[in-house]
């Protein structure tokens, strides 16, 4: 993973447990004229650590981060020592907005210098499928490769679809997740005018405060996160290091509004229900949720309502947290990073906190693991992602035993 807290799970997971924030003033461009001046930038990331210099300028930053994550995951799961059969190895890396920096730069080029000055790499840098395509080229994945584009739910969508493909027997191994490099003037302006972003510019590390009464929007962040999904027997045969077992996937659409969640919470409700029924377990067996938890008024209230509606009395027994309280919202990459965090939580029995939850919103009255991490062995974890357009996805993982 590549996140505002650092690069690689060994770096990131302990910082999450400590409650560290990766949010700060935007440094990559001048924000004087912008109402929002903060974001989660991946300042520690250097594409040269992972990618051949000659390839770097041919890719957008979202691809750099996707490739770096794919390489880490490939090596962490020792696939470098036991390469999968190419034809049965696939890649699904989603993105919300793809190469928006390249898009924006080349439009400026077009307007300033004319059509013949647009870079020949503009299209291959911009198109969202390149994170999957470039990873496939690098890692020789010749099975199914694709790029789900379901806004802030793209990463979870990607992992769910990879899980299905393996269940159906098409592939043995997938690298799946999401990538996003959105800290670009046009994206900041776009999300700002929607009033979606926190304006707590003076206290960047306190700006992302999921479920808190004082929350005022999400904090935009960049990064990438992928997991390796592997057919169980295939993994056992090669003695792969198994972190968690993926057991369920659910999807639904609100079919309600372009950006607002359906306040009845039906979409989020049926999405979680579908994932849990897919796994064939009882709702009471779920003891941990990595929430979508964006820090927007609408999401956090609706998500909490959906959890209460679906789990009933059991909802208060579930340890819930929001990774976004520390990293901000990685948009299309969020689900990829959060799936990896969920797997590590199941493995370590350490649940990172939700920071900045000082004064809980009365509508958000569940156990969100405020302030400090807890040690609790949890058996089933659910990770939610909800995107603009009403796209809802939940994935369910089980502690590996």
């Amino acid at each position: 993973m590549v996140t505002p807290l650092g690069v690689g799970k060994e770096k990131v997971f302990p910082l999450l447990l400590k409650g560290s924030s990766g949010i700060g003033p935007i440094s990559c461009f001048d924000t004087t004229e912008y109402s929002v001046k903060i974001a989660g930038e991946c300042k520690d990331f250097d594409a040269k650590d992972f990618i051949n210099p000659r390839e770097i300028s041919r890719m957008d930053r979202f691809c750099h981060m996707a490739l770096a994550s794919a390489v880490q995951a490939f090596e962490d799961s020792s696939l470098d020592k036991h390469p999968p059969q190419s034809e049965r190895f696939g890649i699904i890396i989603g993105t919300g907005i793809g190469g928006i920096k390249s898009f924006s730069d080349e439009i400026a080029n077009l307007l300033e210098k004319g059509p013949s000055r647009v870079s020949p790499f503009f299209i291959p840098r911009m198109i969202g499928n390149m994170a999957s395509a470039q990873s496939a080229i690098l890692l020789k994945a010749k099975g199914y490769t694709s790029d789900p584009c379901s806004a802030c739910a793209s990463g979870t969508n990607a992992i769910g679809e990879a899980f299905r493909r393996i269940q159906m027997g098409y592939e043995d191994v997938f690298i799946a997740g999401g990538a996003e490099a959105c800290i670009v003037p046009i994206a900041l302006a776009g999300f700002s005018v929607m009033k979606a972003l926190s304006k707590r510019n003076d206290e960047p590390q306190k700006a992302s405060r999921p479920f808190d009464a004082e929350r005022d929007g999400f904090v935009m962040a960049e990064g990438a996160g992928v997991v390796v999904l592997e057919e169980w027997d295939h993994a056992i045969r090669r003695s792969a290091p198994i972190i968690a077992e993926m057991v369920g996937y659910g999807a639904s659409c609100d079919a309600y509004h372009i950006t607002l969640p359906d306040p009845s919470a039906e979409g989020a409700f049926s999405c979680m229900k579908n994932a849990i029924e897919d796994a064939g377990i009882a709702p009471q067996e779920v003891d941990y949720i990595n929430a979508h938890g964006t820090s927007t008024k609408a999401n956090d209230a609706t998500e909490s309502a959906a959890i209460k509606k679906y789990f009933g009395e059991h909802a208060s027994q579930i340890s819930i947290h929001s990774t976004k309280s520390m990293m901000g919202h990685l948009l299309g990459a969020a689900g990829g990073v959060e799936a990896a965090i969920m797997a590590l939580t199941l493995q370590s029995a350490k649940i990172h906190p939700t920071i900045n939850l000082c004064n809980p919103d009365p509508e958000c009255d569940l156990n969100y693991t405020p302030h400090l991490m807890i040690e609790r062995q949890v058996n089933y974890g659910l990770s939610n992602s909800f995107g603009f357009g009403g796209h809802n996805y939940s994935i369910l993982m089980k502690r590996a035993t």
Partner: protein
């Protein structure tokens, strides 16, 4: 401008566009066979040199400029 001056000036541009060291670039190097360029990389180099020299190289001409020496010759003949 003589060929050597042009060569020295185009070298860093080619190196930058292809992500290679300047020392790998020789006057006789073929962009694709020796320097590992692909068709898009070739367009990228051509555009950068057009910019550098204020040239507009027609597509049919550009498609013939497959080696460093051909590129240098072209620049020498067309830059006033």
């Amino acid at each position: 401008m003589n060929e050597k001056d042009i060569f020295e000036k185009v070298k860093p541009v080619i190196a930058d566009k292809l992500g290679i060291g300047e020392d790998e670039i020789k006057m006789e190097s073929h962009f694709i066979n020796d320097l590992g360029a692909d068709s898009l990389g070739l367009v990228d180099i051509t555009m950068a040199l057009e910019e550098e020299y204020g040239l507009e190289i027609p597509d049919e001409e550009a498609s013939k400029l497959l080696s460093v020496s051909a590129m240098v010759e072209y620049i020498k003949a067309n830059v006033k």
